[in-house]
């Protein structure tokens, strides 16, 4: 058997395949498709302090090798999550990562304070949702705000804090360095690229929110580049996400420098994608004569470097 266990800072994971936020609900519906105890972990749908209705439909547009979504953080709010969903997630037997989105530093802090006393494994700070007006991507586009937010959040909780960054910036390296300075325990790269789809006949955006976040294999080259770029500058564990559809994609992210990966859109097309991807990674490792997936991590050798 190829070894799969790894550490993200103080957190031990069975294996490097996590379900990405927003594409797995709270795991409930997915239990029909795979044995969730075999996953590395599940990132919850993005949560806000108060319930959010989300954006007007349509919320999805198909694009070439990808999709745009404009869900806009529809979620039941932190209280309902803690009451109705966390107990279920907790007994799945895999790590539970809570994706947290706030309007303001105060809201992020408040949520982290309340999560500190719960049985979750890590907090993923969503600094990158492109589908809401306040917080999130606005904070995530400015190095100084990233740094100060994380610093404050870290005062509220002992849980590992992962910073999930947006690719819609001039320098992802600057954002990642800011997250490191702020005290993040890991960096998650990347959230969706901001995009638009247009119906030329109706002269209308396809999405009710006009713009949306682009995900899927279309964005994999951008995500890989960002992981590789950040990996050479930052000492934190990285979690790679963006367009991972199969085991080979996942290994590319490990080679680029990621300790683990998150699988998003793939789960929407093949609900058992996470489990399949893990199996494919192990099969490829056997072919490569590698007996621990961690051996791939950060092995990228640049040309002329």
């Amino acid at each position: 058997m190829v070894k799969t266990a790894l550490q993200i800072g103080s957190l031990s994971l069975k294996n490097p395949v996590l379900a990405a936020s927003g594409t797995f609900g709270f795991g409930r519906e997915m239990a029909r498709f795979q044995d969730l105890s075999r996953l590395g972990g599940i990132c919850s749908k993005g949560l806000t302090l108060h319930p959010r209705a989300g954006n007007p439909p349509p919320r999805v547009a198909e694009t070439s090798c990808g999709m745009l979504n404009s869900v806009g953080l529809q979620n039941p709010g932190l209280d309902a999550f803690l009451r109705d969903e966390l107990p279920f997630m907790r007994q799945l037997g895999c790590a539970v990562i809570v994706n947290v989105a706030g309007h303001s530093t105060d809201e992020y802090c408040e949520m982290c304070r309340r999560l500190d006393q719960t049985a979750i494994d890590a907090i993923e700070l969503n600094l990158s949702c492109p589908n809401v007006r306040e917080g999130c991507m606005l904070i995530g586009s400015e190095a100084r705000q990233i740094e100060s937010l994380i610093r404050q959040v870290k005062l509220e909780t002992k849980k590992p804090v992962w910073a999930k960054l947006t690719p819609n910036v001039t320098s992802i390296a600057d954002m990642a360095l800011a997250a490191q300075r702020g005290g993040a325990d890991a960096i998650v790269l990347i959230n969706t690229l901001l995009g638009m789809a247009i119906d030329h006949r109706t002269r209308r955006p396809v999405l009710g929110n006009n713009t949306g976040g682009l995900s899927g294999p279309a964005i994999k080259p951008v995500a890989l580049r960002m992981v590789a770029e950040v990996s050479r500058l930052v000492d934190l564990p990285l979690i790679g996400v963006g367009g991972i559809m199969n085991g080979q994609d996942a290994l590319e992210f490990l080679v680029a420098g990621a300790s683990a990966v998150e699988v998003g859109t793939a789960s929407l097309i093949r609900p058992a994608a996470c489990q399949d991807i893990l199996a494919e990674m192990q099969a490829l490792a056997r072919v490569d004569g590698v007996d621990d997936l961690a051996e791939y991590r950060g092995t990228l050798q640049l040309w002329g470097g």
Partner: protein
Amino acid sequence: MLPEDPIEHAVTIRSVRRLNSLTAVLVLDAPLIAAAATPGQFVNVTCDQFLRRPIGIMAVQRREGLIELGIRAVGAGTRNLLQKKPGDPLSVLGPLGHGFQLDGLRRVITVGGGSGVFPLFFVQQVCRERGIDALAVCGYRSKNESILRDEYAGLGCQTLFAADAGDLDVAGQAADALAQLLRQLPPVPGTAILTCGPRPMMQAVAELARRNQLPCQVSLEERMACGIGVCLVCACQVKADGKTGYQRCCVDGPVFDAEVVAW
């Protein structure tokens, strides 16, 4: 926790029945879906595009383990499906969603338009099996573009076909035909109207039902990705506890009580 019965099925196309240049019925070897499906449920099928496409189940042949899907060309995905040939593979997720509620009904009137006539055919099939009195109203642009008329008639249900062009039973739209039918039909307790089709049609049908104090179930269409409730892209506005909010068309629907739909 172990996975339940898998609902992702690698199936093969048994046959393709062309109805006209824009529509066809695909018959798939899918015994598990055939065994489990109820009318109003749908499947989410691959179609050589990036995402799957939600398609209502039009009929099942339980003994043979077959399901039938009626497809109408809209864009690239449905056009690809119409090109499929017997023997071609498809990945099918299903049966999905919350279908029509037939329990306790004594008479069912289905009102379909556009590709809505496909899933409602399954309602008629089950009504016949269960001995529920059933009537079918179908609306088309014209006789020429009409589909499934013989199949509906073949089920033995009373049918009323409307055409905008005026060359079928009723000149006008499906809702006009329904109005005419309701005027003539002796009231029977336990009657319900089940509708599927373009939103304006369904809204008109729901309004007629309300005026006639008949319960009405509508099958909503929203753009989907997963079809299984995890991505929240298929939000449709529904009233609950006096408030309007979003529910997931794919798992909370696609069939809703007309009274809760926020038109």
